[in-house]
């Protein structure tokens, strides 16, 4: 079982001080949060991708590469990578590069994005969101799994004899999760490929999450990747903790009441009852999240949103400390003890390489090193040889 944090990278005014961090401060805070996540023993740090204020993370691989250089163990992921509006060729290139610099500590979560205008800003039509996700991902897989790609699709200019570089580390593409809140088509897509399915349920009642995950599991089995209970499932979560639950409620309430993300609609009490948001003691968080497997079965990844709504960095770092030292060790034991032996962990780079029977040493494979058009190798300083 993997535990981690995901951030949407919002810049929100702290309602208790009236101050908002600068973009620079927020970006540095995200790096500090990632580093602390590793220090307190979390397994995953995932960063969102957005192209509009109040979010700062437009270019996740830059940030994740910087974090990779300062961490050793934590898996770096996205929440989410926009499979609809990004060019799949750039995703293939950027994340293979990140995979190399991070020595394989990389996976991705595909998403369609929740901001309508992003589609037209990138020349796309939101009404084709699902189709874009289906076609772009099909191309992305090909670019990672095949050295030389011929491609013609509906949305992108065709490719003939294209090789995406760098090739995935050890010949194994990063593991992919597909995130969707409401679209069964995306659960279907995840199941078809045998990829992971992440239900970001932080604004949704568990009854809905249960249905979406149940559908993905049935279809995972249908496509022959294993039994339904072996499908790879991830969930979102939100918590705020203090030693006394009344203190947690008192401290978090102004953030809940003022954060735009909660819509100014339900009360914090209604919201905590109907969604996974838990505000209280670490024991309350343990009890609530230990119950998640009752709704969705044994699952592989639990990510928490910890740094939104204008919470100051010091508070977020304290929360990570509580999460990593008081909550996660207990949940880890609980989940691990209950999980049957045939239910797998989430794939990692090492497990994917092992499943393929070892690394593919592409350094020794001349086919991937010689440029197909010039016939030269990198060592030849790319001098064009004139045919005699």
């Amino acid at each position: 079982m993997q535990f981690g944090v995901f951030t949407v990278s919002d810049i929100t005014t702290d309602p208790t001080t009236g101050r908002a961090p600068s973009e620079h401060d927020r970006i540095k805070a995200i790096v500090a949060i990632a580093k602390r996540s590793e220090e307190v023993g979390l397994d995953v740090f995932a960063l969102g991708e957005h192209h509009n204020p109040p979010f700062v993370s437009s270019s996740p691989t830059t940030t994740l590469g910087f974090i990779a250089a300062q961490t050793e163990r934590i898996i770096l992921s996205t929440a989410t990578t926009l499979i609809t509006t990004n060019d799949p060729v750039k995703i293939a290139e950027d994340y293979a590069m990140l995979q190399h610099v991070a020595d394989g500590r990389v996976d991705l979560m595909m998403g369609r994005g929740n901001t309508g205008p992003v589609y037209p800003w990138f020349g796309k039509d939101i009404r084709q969101g699902i189709e874009l996700a289906i076609e772009n991902y099909a191309l992305l897989r090909k670019l990672w799994d095949e050295d030389v790609v011929d491609w013609q699709g509906k949305f992108r200019t065709p490719l003939q004899g294209f090789t995406s570089t760098p090739r995935p580390l050890d010949g194994v593409a990063p593991f992919v999760w597909h995130g969707s809140i409401r679209s069964p088509e995306i659960a279907e897509q995840a199941a078809y490929y045998g990829d992971g399915f992440f239900h970001n349920n932080i604004f949704w009642p568990m009854s809905h999450t249960k249905q979406m995950v149940g559908y993905y599991r049935r279809r995972f089995e249908h496509y022959g990747h294993g039994s339904a209970d072996q499908a790879i499932v991830g969930l979102g979560g939100q918590v705020f903790m203090r030693a006394k639950s009344q203190d947690a409620v008192r401290e978090f309430r102004p953030y809940f009441d003022n954060a735009p993300v909660y819509g100014g609609g339900p009360s914090m009490e209604d919201f905590t009852r109907e969604t996974p948001l838990t505000v209280g003691s670490s024991q309350q968080v343990i009890d609530r999240y230990a119950g998640m497997r009752d709704a969705v079965g044994d699952y592989q990844r639990q990510l928490f949103l910890m740094d939104h709504a204008g919470l100051p960095l010091e508070t977020v770092l304290e929360q990570l400390e509580i999460l990593g030292t008081e909550v996660v060790p207990v949940l880890r034991r609980e989940f691990d003890s209950k999980r049957p032996a045939h239910v797998p962990d989430a794939p990692t780079h090492a497990s994917l390489v092992a499943a393929r029977g070892g690394a593919v040493a592409n350094e020794s494979d001349p086919a991937t090193l010689v440029d197909r058009w010039t016939g030269t190798r990198a060592e030849d300083s790319n001098v064009l040889r004139v045919a005699r």
Binding site: I134, E188, Y192, P205, Y215, G265, E274
Partner: protein
């Protein structure tokens, strides 16, 4: 099999002439169904009781009580939708409910429209305001709708086509339409999801069409 009729009323007061019109339309439908040997049950949803929940659904998620209303609408063989006219259109409460109702809930659903207002001069609002919205939602809207002006409830009403007669006619057409089709069975919301192969081949065939056209 017992048929289900759901009355959605945006009436605001107690008693409400809008809700009264809804009850009368439901009675007329039941009577006409009984004449056809059909049994039906009627459930009345007063939107004013769900006002806060509807607003919450607009900005966040739908609370449990409102989700239960959504389920009843999805399972209905016929919906009778009623609103008082505000500023010559449906009320904000009425519109907001249909704005948060899950997409597709009314597709192919039999809907009988009703509205109330202070003067018969606003009766066409049924056709220029309500009907286009339900057409957009792909509802199967009955051609007959019923508008009741305040005066319709008394002696000064239309004595050539009195309200009772218009109600009976509307109930008759809803009953006829319900009886003519099989009972609504709520499908698993995932049952209609295309398989991956179907989604992918749709993309391919779109390409072929494009290329054939060149």
């Amino acid at each position: 099999m017992t048929r289900r009729i759901v009355v959605i009323s945006a009436g605001l007061r107690e008693p409400s002439s809008t809700s009264l019109l809804g009850e009368r339309l439901a009675e007329a439908t039941l009577t006409a169904l009984a004449a056809r040997g059909s049994v039906a049950e009627v459930e009345v949803v007063e939107l004013r009781h769900h006002g806060g929940d509807i607003m919450q659904a607009m900005t966040s998620f739908a609370p449990e009580a409102l989700r239960a209303v959504f389920d009843r609408v999805a399972a209905a063989d016929g919906v009778i939708a009623l609103t008082p006219l505000f500023n010559t259109s449906y009320s904000g409460l009425f519109k907001s409910f249909f704005d948060v109702l899950p997409e597709g809930s009314l597709a192919g659903k039999l809907v009988l429209l009703g509205a109330t207002g202070g003067t018969p001069r606003h009766s066409l609002a049924l056709d220029y305001a309500l009907r286009p919205m339900f057409a957009y939602l792909h509802a199967d809207v009955l051609t007959t709708g019923v508008f009741a002006a305040t005066e319709d409830w008394g002696a000064a009403g239309d004595d050539v086509r009195p309200l009772t007669e218009r109600i009976a006619r509307a109930g008759e057409s809803l009953a006829e339409a319900i009886a003519a089709r099989p009972a609504v069975v709520v499908a698993d919301e995932f049952a209609s999801t295309a398989s991956f192969e179907e989604m992918f081949s749709r993309l391919r065939s779109a390409d072929d069409d494009f290329e054939n056209g060149l």
